[in-house]
Amino acid sequence: MTKALLDVRGLVKNFGALRAADGIDFDVQEGETLAVIGPNGAGKTTLISQLAGNVRPDTGEIFFAGENITALSAPKRARRGLARSFQITSIYPEFTALQNVALAVQAHAGHSFRFWRNAMTDPALTAPGRRVLEEVGLGARTDIVAANLAHGEQRQLEVAMALATRPRLLLLDEPMAGMGAEESQRMIAFLATLKRRQTIILVEHDMDAVFKLADRIAVLVYGRMIATGTSAEIRANPEVRAAYLGED
């Protein structure tokens, strides 16, 4: 048995009569980028939320780096190295871009019961923060209040905050949502630079991005993972074509 970074077994989640996860099994290897695709309402965001700890599965287990994390809260999972970005931008609107990422750094720099020293003049927080902003292309916008950033920039900040926690597994929920074509291309190019050094689960609608970035693709339809494989395998899979790709 290979040592997977993430191992998901028999995940079931019902919202009333709606089955958002219907016995999902999969794993993610260290360094791999796994894309999760599927039609609207397939349960992609619910899956990310269950991995990040925002939603508890009804049954099933999640192992992260060999540890059963199924019962752990979201903050505890985050401290173990699971970071998520949200499909609907979730940042601190009244803080500057730098404050946003510095907070993400701070969350992983021991406890925060430090009452006196100004956090924003502490290079232990701001230096890694600036580095991450530079990386995602916000290097010139560090002191702009997040609410005043353009939509595309806020999406970049969203990803920057997840990255600033230096996660072992990055969960990206439609990072290109609402972006223009040019911004999307830049984000895709950036995510491509993370490949290999960062393990990623990517939920995305844009098939170009998926085929460019993913090592493996998992197809989710009505809470069931109907296929996983390389992009060639997925493209050739008749069930996938019927359910999802074959509409053209």
Binding site: N54, P75, A78, R84, S90, F95, A104, S112, F115, N118
Partner: protein, 310 residues
């Protein structure tokens, strides 16, 4: 930045210069008035930490005013008038009460948080009324003000004034440091977007509880000062209208601003003083004034002094 430093400098000089001027003009009354205002400002400053920066709408902050006052009063009742001891007990007991109230109420949010903090404070209010030994609902007189080994004499109106001024400024500085520290950043971030805070790895509960305890302890000190100021203490210190008054000072002055609670306390209590000297029905006039001020100053009085964006 320089503008703000200038304004603070001017305010401190004005407050420090008040007693000699008031005495020279034969208006010693103003020393007492401003001292009282600053004691309430201290209470408002402490509430601002959890209300303004932490987003915790505590409708029971007067509880700690009462606990602090009773700590002084009860020790004095048994003949212990050592101020160090009295004030240490006021701060310690308030912190403990805040820890208990906070531990329960911070698990809730929104309207439930407001109601739970209010309920706890009303419990303490009725506890005060039921304590017949300490005067029940009549309260009791403080026969002698807190004694500080001859270092300062609170019986001297001017000395007491400067003690209150120093403590209020110290509290302002302390809150300023706290809200910009790592601790303060977590507190403010969790007010801004709790789910984001949890997603990057913060568990807000412990930080909120710590802020709640700090605020309670600081307000307990204000209670100890208030008991000395009035030479009297009653359960009314803990009445819910008192909590509302302190909350109003914070909102009027400007939530989550350092100068806000000070400005709010001065504005509210000065207007109250002027109106009550003018007419017996001053509350009829105060109400609309408050409504107008909240409508007009969206970011509180502090927003008037601030630039467009902070």
């Amino acid at each position: 930045m320089r503008r703000r430093a200038l304004l603070w400098g001017a305010a401190i000089v004005l407050l420090a210069a008040l007693p000699p001027f008031a005495l020279a003009l034969g208006q010693a009354f103003y020393i007492d008035l401003v001292r009282r205002i600053m004691i309430f400002a201290l209470a408002a400053i402490s509430l601002n930490l959890i209300l303004g920066y932490g987003g915790m709408v505590s409708f029971g902050h007067a509880a700690y005013l009462g606990v602090g006052a009773y700590a002084v009063g009860i020790l004095a009742f048994y003949g212990i008038d050592n101020g160090w001891l009295q004030w240490a007990l006021a701060i310690g007991a308030s912190a403990l009460v805040a820890l208990a109230i906070g531990a329960v109420s911070i698990r809730t949010s929104g309207i439930y948080f407001i109601m739970i903090t209010l309920a706890f404070t009303q419990m303490l209010y009725y506890l005060g009324i039921s304590l017949a030994v300490y005067g029940g609902d009549d309260g009791m007189r403080l026969k002698i003000r807190s004694q500080f080994s001859g270092l300062v004499d609170l019986g001297d109106s001017v000395q007491f004034y400067y003690v209150v001024l120093a403590l209020t400024l110290l509290a302002t500085l302390l809150i300023h440091r706290i809200v910009n520290s790592r601790f303060g950043m977590v507190l403010r971030a969790s007010k801004s977007n709790e789910s984001r805070s949890r997603a990057i790895g913060f568990s807000p509960y412990a930080y909120r509880l710590a802020a709640f305890v700090i605020a309670g302890a600081m307000c307990g000190l204000a209670g100890a000062l208030l008991a000395n100021h009035t030479n009297y203490l009653t359960p009314d210190f803990m009445h819910w209208t008192r909590s509302g008054e302190i909350m109003f000072m914070v909102i009027l002055g400007g939530m989550a601003s350092i100068a806000g609670p000070l400005l709010g306390a001065f504005a509210l209590l000065l207007v109250e003083d002027a109106l009550s000297a003018w007419t017996q029905h001053w509350q009829v006039f105060l109400g609309p004034l408050l409504v107008l001020s909240v409508l007009f100053f969206k970011r509180g009085l502090a927003g008037v002094f601030a630039h467009k964006h902070d």
